[in-house]
Amino acid sequence: MSSKIARIDLVSSHPEVYEPCDDSFALVDALLSDRTNLLDFHPRLCMEVGCGSGYVITSLALMLGQETTGVHYIATDINPHALQVTSETLKAHGVHAELIQADIASGLEKRMAGLVDVIVVNPPYVPTPEDEVGQEGIASTWAGGENGRRVIDRILPVADRLLSHKGWLYMLFLTSNNPSEICLQMKDKGFSARIIVQRATEEENLLVIKFWRDSPVQADTNGMVTTTKTEPFMAMGSLGSLFSRLSFWRSDNSSC
């Protein structure tokens, strides 16, 4: 299993770049648990928004690239040091992704609209004062403004634009980001959602949610409506009840 994801000791670092942490591991675990579906899906173009250390995009490239050819990877970050570190991390694992210094996907939105099959995002999700959002350096990797939603809410419409008609989005959230509301917003854009990983750490409740375009006519092409062996299928209704359970759980543990 270890050869299928990036090795921590080969992940490069820089003082102004976010190092792989619980959230990064949760996102990679989500991709791993969905790996069979991803291989069946056979994406052509995969993208990470905000690649940081490169741990996630490198892991994705290792996961998919070893058994299929003809998958192309693109990663963006606003921080030039992050792109340098990602470049080193990719190289240390012998995989390649095209790297672009961009604000989310600036410069790519027009021509890449509808072309991306998989997008992965570990956004700046931490609730902070609004004026901490978008500052230079390491703070930009986590500062998410009110409810941690400032950057998340900018990324979602971009993802909608970039994703192909069968595209998948994997995104990490905190329960305090109000993910059930996000799922409802995405439903209005035609996406279904499923929780792939949920994890409580000492400080935060993390969720990785997979969104996919809900197009019944296409349902046979890529297994979108099939359930994985390990994860129960979550319809929107059950998402809601799950979120309320999570928040209930959280209030139970408010001493944390």
Binding site: R44, T69, G70, S87, E98, Q101, S106, G107, R111
Partner: protein
Amino acid sequence: MKLLTHNMLTSTVKGVVNGFPLRIEVEKTLEKQVDFSADFLRNLFYKVDWKALVEAAQTMGYAELPEEAPDSTVLESEDFLKKFHYALLELHLEEGNLVCPETGRKFPVTKGIPNMLLHEDEV
């Protein structure tokens, strides 16, 4: 930066209408070997702006692609696919600039990474 990526990038400076294709100023190019996948290339063929690719490749010193957009019958030609593969995926711009066709704004490419960030007054 591959020419596939170049083919996907546009200038989004305020007031720009198309912003595509970005003109390439070459300081340094590289070749990086990439596994050949005919399937991948056939898929991309319909998504690439041909004229932009040909001009970019020529600027990078590769003039083997047909000037006129070929019809899809070329996708059966291994010779064509190999040239397409080389230009699109193996030829890299390592150092240089991407220049907005309308404003002349330069987006620098450093260590193969284009910087598409805009200044506040350009948004």
